[in-house]
């Protein structure tokens, strides 16, 4: 079996009908544009005070979400962080449901009961977005354990940031997954910062995930997280390994967030020129070039852009028109009987 690195390196220079192919490429492009437009809209709506609470955008990190979702099969499970809008959209959840939740309207994914940090769509395999750093790595292990126990072929994928590699649950989950040989893929989106502190200032090794893989007997996989083709191929290799019973993978995707950590953060701590340098490697710019390289007509690309803008505009209008959640859902679904009774 090709290693993730082999497959990633095989990307450059292949022809139009290479292992990825036109249909998948257009899908990867569209997913990235959906995330870009929806996240940009979320930011605009925040400025209009229509997005309440907090929100953590993935502008600049779209290729990771698109590449992994593109390699998933129906039934595969995604476990996200508070920075999970991208992964939720990438699994096919509608822009309206995501924006509705950010705007805390009744049409939101969880009708406003979860909010921006907890996007969940079980029917799409999005098994929750978790806002306590590291908590979902062990949870993803459990879902993978169930697959292993049941002989099911689905794989659990757990997305998290560079900062998350320094919390205890990371270590517990990685060791646990390796010892139990679980079909789980840990995806570290290294965007160089925890909240405001550069990851290098607080981490003993240069590559927070990759350099620790050996501790768990895992391969060191560090890839360009701004190139959806690279991410897609890397993901495929990890899925193949997991489905074949080969156990977990830990993949570090190098990327960068264009916006601040959360909506309130102007990201003044970044050195001058850093954002601009990374914007030259904007994943959508890279991918547009890739499509052109493969001879995909400009109008096909433009049609995707136009269509996505329309989808996001329509979703925005639907969310603005949607009512706030009714008060009667306040006490539903605390317990499995649908209610909140703790006494007789």
């Amino acid at each position: 079996m090709a290693t993730a690195k082999d497959r990633a390196q095989a990307s450059a220079g292949s022809g139009l009908n290479d292992d990825i192919g036109e249909a998948k490429r257009l899908e990867l492009y569209r997913t990235q544009v959906v995330i870009r437009e929806a996240e940009q809209r979320a930011f605009d709506l925040f400025l209009q005070n229509l997005v309440k609470g907090t929100s953590h955008l993935s502008l600049g990190q779209e290729a990771v979400a698109a590449g992994f979702a593109g390699a998933m099969k129906p039934g595969d499970l995604s476990f996200c962080t508070y920075r999970g809008h991208a992964h939720t959209l990438a699994r096919g959840v509608s822009v309206e449901k995501v924006l509705g939740e950010l705007m805390q309207r009744d049409n939101g994914l969880m009708r406003g009961k979860g909010g921006s940090m907890h996007l969940t769509s079980a029917e799409h395999g999005v098994m929750g977005s978790y806002a306590i750093i590291g908590a979902h790595l062990p949870i993803a292990c459990g879902a993978a354990w169930r697959a292993q126990y049941k002989g099911a072929k689905d794989v659990s994928v757990c997305f998290f940031g560079d900062g998350t590699t320094n919390i205890g649950a990371f270590h517990e989950a990685l060791n646990f997954a390796a010892v139990w040989k679980l079909p789980v893929i840990f995806v570290c989106e290294n965007n160089l910062y925890m909240e405001y502190t550069p990851i290098g200032d607080v981490t003993a090794v240069p590559h927070p995930a990759g350099d620790r893989a050996a501790s768990y007997g895992l391969e060191r996989v560090i890839v360009d997280g701004n190139d959806a083709d690279v991410v897609y191929r890397t993901a495929q290799a990890a899925f193949d390994k997991a489905r074949a019973g080969g156990g977990p993978s830990l993949i570090e995707c190098l990327t960068y967030r264009h916006s601040g950590h959360s909506r309130a953060d102007p990201a003044k701590y970044r050195p001058e020129g850093e954002l601009e340098r990374w914007k030259e490697r904007d994943p959508i710019k890279i991918y547009k070039e890739r499509l052109k390289q493969f001879g995909i007509a400009e109008n096909v690309i433009n049609d995707i852009d136009t269509d996505v803008k329309r989808v996001v505009d329509d979703a925005t209008e639907a969310c603005k028109a949607a009512p706030v959640p009714p008060v009667d859902i306040l006490t539903t679904d605390v317990y499995a009987d649908g209610g909140w009774a703790w006494r007789n």
């Binding site: 969940t120 098994m127 062990p138 949870i139 126990y149 646990f176 317990y335 006494r343």
Partner: protein, 326 residues
Amino acid sequence: MAELTYRDAVIRGIAQEMERDPDVVFLGEDVAKAGGVFKATVGLFEQFGPLRVRDTPISEQAIMGAAMGAAMTGLKPIAEIMFSDFFAVCFDYIANEFPKSRYMSNGQLKCPLVVRTGNGAGSRFGAQHSQSVENWCMMIPGLKVVAPSSPRDVIGLLAAAVRDPDPVIFFEHKSLYATKGEVPDGEIVDQLGTAKILRPGTDATILALALMVPRALAAAEKLQAEHGINAEVVDVRSLVPLDTQTILGSVARTHRLFTVEENPRLCGWGAEIVSIVADEAFYDLDGPPVRITTPHIPLPAADNLEDIVLPTVDRIVETVRRSLGS
């Protein structure tokens, strides 16, 4: 009918549920090949095999998280946390993850799991291996919390917990493992959210949980024999859901309320019950409700100190007698 230890009841309870449902799986530290540090899981590994009874690394967060992920996606895991004191290193799952996923997801996610744990004092283990932490869990919306006092209740409440669709924290008392009780043959399934009147009485209601139940019963006998006080003893059994009706009903008959709590005093479970009774049954009371608790101190290791720090039979007798003015 057979006489069984509390410890063997744990084994029988788990086995009963694993036999019934192949989706019931069990994980924890030293629980499989070694049979558990309290020997409360001996034989399960041999009976159900390495896929269903699994030893884990010393990773409480991984144990809890894995149980949750498995529960969310279709299994019915039983996770063991060796000592309940260790809840402190995996409290995120207890406080933030298990109980909130259903609500935050607007009902999309489920979390049907059981966490079993060795709770309570009496083993001279000191402040980090002896605590009664049921009140840490009781305060969290979304959890259910039970603490059996007898072998029969261990089996029945464990079965109810495993079959329950919500996350249940199941407190086993370390000092009860060696105690014995009559247990009927065949399947036993109890009901969460039900208290049990173990000794009917007319003069005072004594509420107790886990290890405090046998002490409350012994105290009631002494109160009767030595002071002519006929106390009713209620085993609360389930803190969430709470069987408020049985408690209020008892207070309505006896007009006096005493709680016997092993947890340290501040925010112990009895405080909540006293507040419910004050709200809803104030005029049933002939005197102030009285809480008999461990004081607000860490637990000492030395046997003579540990023995006096928990509510004792004599302290219960003395407190009730003095309050009733006899």
